[in-house]
Symmetry: C2
């Protein structure tokens, strides 16, 4: 199978943020939204939002904007979030627990239907109202529920073994929060979250800001 290359990554990454704001506006009863409004909210230029929305295929009304409901629907459809996908989570440590407790996923087409851990102290307990199952039961339950998405929250050294187990069970997509690069079959897609990536960006911004300030001080401003 050909290696996939996704384009418009920056646009796709912005979609959930539009969605979040739009749902909020929808609840407030706002019937129309313009790219200007969304751009203001996100601190970017309207043309960026216009292009992003363009790829969903929706059309708006010149001079007015987009119907809030339709725009929400268009973004959901584009992302494949119009039908809920069920997932299993492996590793109920602090990060895994945080994800289990996050109630925004319902807006993002995701439902974590089962959670697993190896720790006997956790097995059978409930975290944010969800039972933690024995990791040994994973193949059985994943097959039974026909799950296609797995979320890995185990420590880095265990992550590859868990990933192998998941793909053996028919999982086709992995959301990887472990700090390690996984080797997977070509027909399995993976998204690795590297929290430190954001920190790196922030650090570089801070460094640039500081040198800017120093430069201005030098110029007597």
């Amino acid at each position: 199978m050909a290696v996939m290359k996704i384009q418009k990554t920056p646009s796709i990454r912005r979609m959930p943020t539009y969605l979040h704001k739009l749902v909020e506006m929808q609840m407030e009863g706002v019937p129309f939204v313009s790219t200007t409004q969304l751009a203001d909210y996100m601190n970017l230029e309207p043309i960026v939002v216009r292009k992003d929305i363009g790829i969903t295929g929706i059309s708006g009304q010149p001079g007015i904007g987009y119907k809030t409901d339709k725009l929400i629907a268009a973004i959901r459809r584009f992302l494949g979030w119009d039908s809920v996908i069920e997932a299993c989570l492996v590793g109920a440590g602090s990060l895994g627990s945080a994800l289990l407790g996050y109630d925004g996923f319902e807006n993002y087409g995701l439902k974590i239907s089962t959670a697993f851990d190896r720790d006997t102290a956790k097995i059978g307990s409930y975290i944010h109202g969800r039972e933690i199952f024995d990791y040994k039961q994973l193949p059985e339950l994943v097959a039974q529920l026909g799950l296609k998405l797995g979320i890995i929250c185990v420590p880095a050294p265990c992550a590859q073994a868990v990933a192998d187990q998941l793909t053996d069970c028919g999982i086709k997509a992995i959301w990887n929060f472990a700090n390690v690069s996984l080797k997977l079959p070509e027909d399995v897609v993976v998204q690795r979250e590297v929290i430190a990536g954001g920190l790196a960006l922030l650090s570089v911004k801070l460094g640039q800001q500081n040198s800017l300030i120093n430069a201005e001080e030098k110029n007597g401003n």
Copy 2:
């Protein structure tokens, strides 16, 4: 002050991952690393790694690679992680707790020196060995410790107020995990983590993969 625009965002985001792997190799006693090795690990092309490393300014040895120690130092210097920056964390909920428990930050030039919450049940307790302070004490402690970085882990509706408070106290950089876009003074840098952004990317990949499979089935492959 001019609005900052950081370039080479994708390269910067990859830096911590290089760093993580390099530190691992260093501990294993590997003296030299080539871009080929790093590329293999990260599932990308060597030229990408070569370009990324290039921006740190380090030079390697043709035919051999880079000295592991020197490369680690170069990446740390580039990111400003050669000196530890102290931060405060606001909001000791499940995500805040997970961050407090993450022990990888020491490698990333970050030390969370204080954590705050408003909840009296949490104040005075210890999470992952760190005392949780009353949010009311924030101005006092931030000033006392001279902190420049704040990490926001409070619910979205409180995030802007916390951000305002932080900037009032002299915080110059904010790492925002709340699901809201913050309005900040121009001299304060911000990095917002949108966890759902990664999920959006994964969903689109999964959709593309599925249509690829369908196409191949149609062609009888």
